[in-house]
Symmetry: D2
């Protein structure tokens, strides 16, 4: 988390972890915010029967949840301001098999109003990752006052 070399980031990371901890749906899915850095966020979730679809693969909705959360959080790390998913596009590349699903998001273009964030989702079988989905998101960057009162920021 680079908290020693980037003191301002420690406070941002703490706030993000606090916010994510209060997301009921994050807890229901059982996903974990496993990595956080300036412009980057990784969220992972272990396989459970209630995360699957009828053929035993991770449900596409789980993949989408990881993308939604990881892209917004990655954008929020840039300057610590509240961020809000405006939109994203998600391509499912292959069935999400295996024991674990990992979503890695990284800011492509930080912006004052909109940040563009890419995400890739991998499924893990016996420690081997397979690329299962790719996404491209636009995240609305809010100013503090707006974020605190009327919107739905990630951080």
């Amino acid at each position: 988390m680079r908290t020693d070399t980037d003191p301002g980031f420690a406070e941002i990371a703490e706030r993000i972890h606090s916010n994510v901890g209060r997301q009921g749906f994050m807890n229901l899915v059982g996903a974990e915010l496993s990595e956080l850095a300036r412009g980057e966020c990784t969220i992972a979730v272990e396989r459970r029967p209630d995360l699957l679809q009828q053929h035993g693969f991770f449900h596409g909705g789980v993949t989408a949840f990881l993308v939604d959360n990881a892209t917004t959080i990655a954008a929020a790390t840039s300057r610590g301001q509240p961020a809000l998913t405006a939109e994203y596009k998600l391509n499912l590349l292959s069935p999400a098999v295996g024991e674990k699903l990992i979503c890695r998001a990284r800011v492509i273009k930080p912006g004052r109003q909109v940040s563009v964030v890419a995400a890739d989702v991998f499924c893990v079988t016996d420690g081997v990752e397979k690329h299962t989905a790719t996404a491209l998101a636009s995240i609305a960057m809010l100013n503090e006052e707006v974020g605190a009162t009327t919107k739905s920021p990630a951080a």
Copy 2:
């Protein structure tokens, strides 16, 4: 469900309901397949604390799950063949407040290889619907053999 005037559809609807009933994630979220017709599908979910984010709105991941499932199912109703989400784009229009979230999907362009499906998500407060998200999806239409063995169809 028009089963009296469209006999072939009764069988398709039965298979879809059976498949959806075996989706662990659908059950975890507690969503309900409330309407099904040729080219159309509606899925709804009642508010629960574990479907929310830190500000008390429905989590964007719940909205995405409804879109993912409803668009694929709508495509599968066209001819009853297995269908698989290829990709979608989702725009979040306003915070998903209220006691209920409803996703209505409709096929815009049925296709032999790819069907294009639109979806709109509404949140309901005191019986009044508000437009909270809109989406556009491409659904891969599989032949029966492929669907049965190697892919992840909705129906």
Copy 3:
């Protein structure tokens, strides 16, 4: 153009027409801004050999150009502020045959920072319209000062 009932709109429309008239690419393609109203924009172009691809259909790039321009202009009509395409998704539904291509864009959700705009493209053969493409766009709404100096607004 409702200029009699919406006086503020006359000025906005005039500025948009002036800006579009200075778009070299609009002139190269030969497209025409045929309708303009609050939250709505229609752009059309007649068939010419140099707008086609190798099979004699309108090139997908022409369809994309109409979508890009019409969605941004539709957003700019809302309050007359400069607008800038942030992103869009375009689904091509059928070959763009016929003698004319028409793109109709309408604002779904006006926003202070981002407006969401839908567009549909129709190709016309013997006066009959066929739906050839559908799109969903996010348009960044700029304040006047930013728009005047550093960005690329439509209006």
Copy 4:
């Protein structure tokens, strides 16, 4: 073009160049198919006044045209079969300034029915590239018979 080590590719490349040469719109824009390899395509265009918008930047429609063409062609190189743009999403990251626009497309996931292709667009000023747009596309892969008669393939 690796034609010495990949003999089958020489024929594919020749067919693609022939098809692209018959695109009226490619010629109108004055774009050039500058690189072609298995799963990759680069198209570039030099600045001209009639490719610009009212502020002197390359028009977003030019960027979209490059993305549309380069992604479809990249998909067509995989096995030489006809390919057809199904959909794409395009994020504009910064104003397209400079003397040249270059679009590089690469297949992320080749498919029997749908190939997923990413593209990045760069604008060049004094030889220095700047990232101006990023895109994610789904390309429908046609069989030869269908492609020859009823659709709009790139190759």
